[in-house]
Symmetry: C2
Subunit: 343 residues, 2 copies
């Protein structure tokens, strides 16, 4: 069996209280006894049980992270950042894939609560806000990332989605594009709707009728985006640009464009969102609205840890600015026409 504090105490001929003190170096203990205890702990490969100490009111040093799908690069990169930041403060992180399924979402919440994690980061929308309210009675520190939930009072880190949508669209409109496809997944969260608002705002500002915009929905997979886009291109050949709400969708659109004989960016400009590593892998490299993923992860995690530690009286919301990274999937419409006639 694993040695316990009693084993150490016995071998060192001291009381368990003394051992406990050297473990947490608290109180005053003679240097000699301290060394002796330390030596024995080492000799027996002793490790204090987090389980036992948690029972006495101490932390579990574990936080939970809910995301829709860790296999999705955006969340994988976010998770990496969260874990790194947690690790730096001796926290472990438990990952939970919710698939945006409301039942899984709250199930995980309660599971984590039962395990007495010290805090939870929500990187996923919580569809069932009533259930969330209920859960919050448990008073587990919570923090939100990349998803807004103005109805509840929690620490939050997000990107200015409205602005991201605006910048991307402005980039396209300025290049002369009029008929732009707005490619979105389910459109079931605040990020999507905010980006759409920014999208329309740019239209208004450029004096272009919102009628010119075409909204394309899909089930948020690359394959489906490709199909929807192909469809859209058929129905409406006047489309010369697309703004996709994440890099995956954008790549699906590029594929659809190529298959439809459109050169990118010659005949079709594409802007994505997120700037995960796939944006640079794409051919051509994808112009996209970059979210500072690593920083977002770092910030939420730090906020959560601070709150766990009892700092942070009032809840805070940090809004980061997205940044348009212009690469090679966007071109001016003039250029496009020249290309077309020239060939």
């Amino acid at each position: 069996m694993r040695p316990t504090i009693y084993d150490i105490a016995e071998r060192a001929e001291v009381s368990i209280a003394t051992v406990s003190k050297v473990i947490n170096n608290k109180g005053k203990i003679g240097e000699k006894t301290r060394q002796r205890v330390l030596a024995i702990m080492d000799e027996l490969d002793y490790q204090p049980s987090t389980v036992a100490s948690a029972l006495t009111g101490k932390q579990t040093n574990t936080i939970g992270l809910l995301v829709p799908d860790i296999a999705n690069s955006f969340f994988a990169e976010l998770a990496r950042s969260v874990e790194d930041t947690g690790h730096a403060s001796s926290f472990n992180v438990v990952i939970c894939n919710t698939d945006n399924n409301p039942e899984k979402e709250i199930q995980y919440l309660w599971w984590l609560n039962q395990k007495r994690v010290d805090g939870i980061i929500l990187g996923t929308g919580i569809q069932n806000s009533k259930a969330l309210q209920d859960f919050m009675k448990q008073k587990i520190p919570l923090a939100l990332v990349a998803r807004d939930a103005s109805t509840i009072d929690v620490d939050t880190v997000l990107v200015d989605d409205y602005r991201g949508g605006y910048e991307a669209t402005k980039h396209l409109l300025t290049a002369g594009h009029i008929r732009i496809a707005f490619v979105v997944g389910e459109m079931n969260n605040s990020s999507d709707t905010e980006r759409l608002k920014g999208f329309y705002e740019a239209y208004d500002e450029h004096g272009v009728s919102r009628e010119e915009a075409v909204i394309v929905k899909d089930n948020n997979s690359i394959g489906d985006a490709k199909n929807s886009m192909r469809q859209a291109l058929q129905n409406d050949p006047a489309i010369t640009a697309v703004f996709a709400l994440n890099d995956f969708l954008a790549i699906g659109c590029i594929q659809a464009g190529k298959e439809a004989g459109r050169r990118v960016p010659g005949d079709l400009s594409v802007v994505g969102f997120d700037d995960t590593f796939i944006a640079t892998l794409s051919d051509p490299p994808l112009t996209t609205v970059a979210q500072p993923i690593l920083e977002m992860g770092r910030l939420v995690t730090q906020m959560l840890i601070d709150r766990i530690g009892g700092k942070n009286e009032t809840t805070r919301t940090i809004i980061l600015n997205p940044e348009l990274h212009v690469r090679e999937t966007t071109a001016g419409i003039k250029e496009a026409e020249r290309d077309v006639t020239g060939s």
Copy 2:
């Protein structure tokens, strides 16, 4: 404060033993009391503390997963599979990013031990095998995935790397390629060396001198693979094909090839390894040796859970077959020549 078993007992006017029994539905309890207790538990949002029950010898229902980097698609997909499988049996998973750093590796191992996780999946090499041996004295169930370690006796799931290397190379040799670049990262694990053996085996079998092969190393990042490959192509223009040990490296090579004016697959054929989702995103879609990632995750996790549950007396090793997925980055050397002359 959160309600405890005492609160429930008091309100229900029964003893804590009774409450405990209904929680775990053990022993015999009258249907009436059972209902009453259940109702109260529900009313108070009571959740038994895993921490407390773990202290009495029960499981924590948590497993650890060590990987080099969750942001790497291969491991992200693996993690997803592990988490799904764990979830189905009510286990949560703690992720640990080791960066292949020996110190982080064992640190995580001990952390997890201290938290009394029920088992650990190693999806990363453990460089320090002496430290591992030491750790194993703790008798925490361990399982290995995607990495061989014949020196220690643990359940293992892996892919036949030798065969994967052989198949990929054979595909290229059969197509007429002779001078093939073998692009690898650090070459610090058994997978890499096994694949290399398979690579050479194919050379031998085709009666081609091993001298024709050129080994290209890099620091296992896409950018570095690109640089190394560019270099290699300059030094040795006779290279007509590359076998890269993962899809990232393969994409780096495609980029290098394109920049060097080589058409893919016209002037340069590329085969990757893993078949993560980026293989299909690539342009052109990447020919690659597919590892059954999801199945690997499912299998290790299930093995580990079985062992935790006390089944699985003897340790097992499951070897899965990789499968060459031929897509569009490989072409015959003849074809390539025709292309060149024809243009």
